[in-house]
């Protein structure tokens, strides 16, 4: 038997998931709303796999992905081929995931699939192209430094990360400028293997009809078994209460109170309550919003849990006039404490929060392309496969007020936090 086949439940279109003998997860979603097909390869890598010496290489590799390869070595011919296929493509590097995707007309699916296979299995890393790309990436880095929130990002890496190089996928100039063919090949050898990746295909295709060709082509990708991704440890730590003042844009004040949250690696059972809790707190008629926004000084507020394997965080935040940040911080702290009072979480609100999450999912599944490039890659990486996503609605529906209280007792109550206060005034740490 070449592969195992699992029928998944998607709300808007049928999805099948299978695993090839080389370990590659293949996920195919049929959606015939538009005559296009999207092919995405998602890899378990990113900034979190980096050391100080390699900080930025995962992102550099992404830049080299859509370059000449064994099948199409000449860059001009490569670019011409993309135009011939009318291909819309991109790649992204995050701290915990790297994605490459292309969209073509569905009548060009075979050609698009071949293009992706050649790109993922046969990169050349031409040294002259690497030299060129150093400058390109440096410009990307320079652009980021102009972003009004660059200081905040930098300070969050500094304060929250155990190893800050794992939190900064853009990397550092010294590593970017030293990247070469050897370092690219090392990264490929370790992470770019089928057992560390998933192939996602969505759109106007017949899953049953294309599966043999997909299997035949991608089974040639050689098993690796070398990735250390699943052994990496947590990269967030808040050992003691810390307050950080960060310089921000003129006229803007922001507050963030951050706690360490449950990891998607081995603490998934907490995450359903975490998501329902975040949605509960986000209700515009809830006490959190009413007390801080409708009847308080904030312009907006949120409370959220970010589903991550290595840097899971629980954040309370909001936007406020700069001159009101001290008052706002005090009020937000009071609201955080109020969550621990009896009766704060009521069943009707929890039902609404669960229903909102169900609706979120429906909205997210509107576009097959977004499913291939956003939803499936995210949950495949963070959930360690799509079972988490598949079982998500049922798991949310089972969350009770008691579950949320237990979650808060474990992750927020009496836990150290990092407070970020963003005002135009500047930067210091308390």
């Amino acid at each position: 038997m070449l592969y195992t086949l699992i029928l998944m439940i998607s709300m808007n279109f049928p999805v099948v998931e299978s695993e090839l003998p080389n370990g590659l997860d293949v996920i195919i979603g049929e959606d015939h709303a538009s005559p296009i097909v999207t092919v995405c390869v998602v890899v378990n890598t990113g900034g979190t796999c980096e050391s100080p010496e390699s900080n930025g290489l995962a992102h550099f590799y992404e830049h080299m992905f859509f370059k000449g390869n064994v099948a199409l070595p000449d860059q001009t011919a490569y670019n011409n081929r993309m135009r011939e296929l009318g291909m819309i493509r991109n790649g992204t590097t995050g701290n915990e995931v790297v994605r490459y995707y292309l969209t073509v007309s569905s009548d060009l699916f075979d050609e698009g699939l071949q293009f992706m296979y050649d790109a993922i299995t046969g990169p050349l890393f031409d040294p002259s192209e690497i030299v060129n790309e150093r400058s390109v990436i440096m410009n990307e880095y320079e652009r980021k430094t102009n972003n009004p929130f660059w200081n905040l990002w930098r300070m969050q890496e500094e304060v929250l990360s155990i190893d800050k190089c794992r939190s900064s996928s853009i990397g550092v100039p010294e590593v970017i400028m030293a990247a070469d063919q050897e370092t690219m090949l090392e990264f490929q050898y370790e992470y770019y293997t089928p057992d560390n990746s998933a192939l996602i295909i969505t759109g106007d295709v017949d899953a049953e009809a294309i599966m043999p060709a997909v299997t035949e082509m991608f089974s040639r990708w050689e098993y690796g078994g070398r990735s250390d991704y699943s052994t990496l440890g947590l990269n967030i730590s808040i050992p003691k209460d810390t307050t950080v003042h960060v310089g921000g844009p003129e006229g803007m004040g922001m507050i963030r109170i951050v706690f360490v949250g449950p990891s998607m690696v081995d603490q998934q059972n907490w995450t359903y309550a975490a998501d329902v809790w975040g949605q509960y707190m986000g209700r515009m008629t809830g006490e959190f919003h009413n007390n801080l926004v409708a009847n308080g000084p904030f312009l907006d507020v949120y409370a959220s849990y970010y589903s991550q394997r290595f840097e899971p965080a629980i954040t309370f935040g909001g936007t406020i006039a700069p001159e009101l940040v001290d008052e706002g911080l005090e009020m937000m702290r009071v609201e955080v404490q109020r969550m621990f009072e009896d009766g704060y979480f009521v069943d009707s609100g929890i039902e609404m929060a669960s229903e909102q999450l169900r609706r979120h999912r429906l909205f997210n599944e509107e576009s097959s392309r977004d499913m291939a490039t956003e939803t499936f890659p995210f949950w495949w990486v963070e959930g360690g496969g799509l079972d988490y996503y598949n079982n998500y609605p049922d798991s949310l529906a089972a969350v009770t007020a008691g579950d949320i209280s237990l979650y808060l007792d474990r992750w927020v109550k009496d836990q150290p936090s990092a407070v970020f206060i963003i005002t135009p005034e500047g930067e210091w740490v308390e």
């Binding site: 808007n12 959606d31 709303a33 538009s34 005559p35 296009i36 860059q75 001009t76 670019n79 011409n80 993309m82 135009r83 011939e84 296929l85 009318g86 291909m87 819309i88 969209t103 073509v104 007309s105 060129n132 790309e133 150093r134 400058s135 390109v136 990436i137 410009n139 990307e140 320079e142 652009r143 430094t145 102009n146 972003n147 009004p148 844009p249 003129e250 006229g251 803007m252 209700r283 515009m284 008629t285 809830g286 926004v293 409708a294 312009l299 907006d300 936007t319 006039a321 609404m352 229903e355 909102q356 609706r359 979120h360 429906l362 909205f363 509107e366 576009s367 097959s368 392309r369 977004d370």
Partner: protein, 433 residues
């Protein structure tokens, strides 16, 4: 009585299942029925944009619409927020040179309630000063944050030289801090009363709700909009009559550079050729500036599809703006002089076909295409039919369109004078034949 005027499904490139009809008060509605899924998109277009603004009230429409959407007589603030909680509907507002657009995304089952609330907010806005004041502060912070980012600001810098003093497109539909901070609820109320008229409104829809059902829902809700509407002045030609450059000094590691030049109006015989030409420019900018010379992370070109006046543009962020600008004009000149391969022209059409396919999956994009096509040309099919024209385009046609229209260049640059020698800046000519 609602009349379904005609059903259009006869043109190969235009989508099927599109219905046009007018409400009794004259509001024009275009609906694309999508049988799969439960997600509805509905866009409310308020036509006018910069043409109804002046120096002192830039941003008033953005302010007034956002203020209105905080609640109404029948849907006061808390009730309206409750509905948002229950439905998880999302609203996206955009304000541009030709119209304001408010887009609703929701599930089919919630459409009746949300349409009723939407219309009520526009017609009977609550305009609670406290709630509106909070909204106003949010708008100001967003605006200020955008203006702080040179990547956003560069477009405004380029406008100064290109559009010429007094051009209505210099007026900012999303406002400037000094005007936006001056508005109050009375201003909002007066603006809504004068602008929410049937003749100023176009509604587009994409989703599973049938046109018959939609017409019923809209008649009950937006059928209450009073008749009438504004007469909009003609948008004057852009003032540029020679190559110009505006330079702004800022402490940025990367410089930003934009050049604008004239383009044909939407619906012109040259629109498809010009649009393809700028698609080719875009491809070649990537090839020359990024792939071959590694001067940038971000470089691109394109053209606008505004109502009467349009422009082409090229953009780059780079630490070497002088060399980059020189190469950009070289790319432009090559395309304008026909020195490109036909395969690149064909490739632009191929890419556009895929982009249209991607857009077809999004109710939001469908609503935007239907509305912008109708407002710009009187025919919602225009953006869809562009693809047919693109596929027949030749190098000769695109080079002629570019050299005919794009004459004078309006450059804008933001750079750090301690890093870049400003004396080397000049308004590089585009040099088509």
């Amino acid at each position: 009585m609602i009349s379904i005027l005609f059903l259009l499904a006869f043109l190969a490139s235009a989508p099927e299942n599109v219905t046009e009809f007018d409400l009794d008060n004259g509001i024009h509605v275009i609906s694309r029925t999508v049988t799969e899924g439960e997600v509805e998109g509905l866009s409310f277009f308020l036509v006018g944009g910069s043409r109804v603004l002046d120096e002192t009230n830039q941003g008033i429409e953005a302010f007034a619409l956002e203020a209105a959407m905080t609640g109404s007589a029948s849907y006061p603030d808390e009730r309206w927020r409750e509905i948002m909680d229950v439905t998880l509907a999302s609203w996206n507002a955009s304000y541009n040179y030709d119209y304001s657009r408010y887009h609703l995304k929701c599930l089919s089952e919630d459409l009746p309630l949300l349409l009723d609330g939407f219309a009520d907010c526009l017609l009977e806005p609550e305009l609670d000063p406290v709630v509106v004041g909070r909204m106003q502060n949010s708008q100001l912070i967003t605006l200020q944050s955008e203006l702080n980012d040179p990547d956003n600001r560069i477009w405004l810098v380029a406008n100064k030289g290109f559009m010429g003093a007094g051009h209505p497109y210099l007026l900012r539909p999303d406002g400037i801090p000094s005007t936006l901070s001056s508005f109050d609820v009375e201003d909002a109320g007066e603006w809504l009363s004068s602008r929410i008229k049937s003749g100023n409104i176009v509604i587009t829809h994409a989703g599973p709700t049938s046109p018959e059902m939609l017409a019923e829902l809209l008649e009950v809700s937006f059928g209450r909009v009073p008749e009438g509407g504004d007469v909009f002045p003609e948008v004057p030609e852009f003032g540029i009559d020679r190559d110009t450059i505006i330079v702004e000094n800022d402490e940025t590691l990367s410089a930003y550079c934009v050049v604008k030049f004239k383009a044909p109006p939407v619906g012109s015989d040259d629109t498809a050729a010009y649009s393809t030409a700028m698609g080719v420019v875009d491809e070649m900018l990537w090839q020359v500036l990024r792939t071959e010379n590694a001067l940038t992370y971000a470089v691109y070109g394109g053209s606008t599809n505004s109502y009467q006046r349009n422009w082409g543009y090229m953009y780059i962020s780079t630490t070497e703006p002088v060399l980059s600008a020189s190469l950009m004009t070289g790319v432009f000149s090559d395309v304008a002089n026909g020195n490109v391969d036909q395969s690149v022209v064909t490739g632009v059409a191929n890419n556009n076909r895929t982009i249209q396919g991607i857009g077809a999956e999004s109710m939001d994009t469908q609503c935007w295409m239907l509305g912008s096509g109708y407002i710009s040309t009187g025919d919602w099919r225009t953006p869809y039919l562009l693809q047919e024209s693109l596929e027949e385009m030749t190098v000769y046609q695109i080079s002629r369109a570019l050299s005919d229209w794009a004459l004078d260049a309006g450059w804008g640059i933001i750079a750090d004078s301690t890093v870049v020698d400003f004396s080397e800046f000049e308004p590089w000519p585009l040099e088509g034949e």
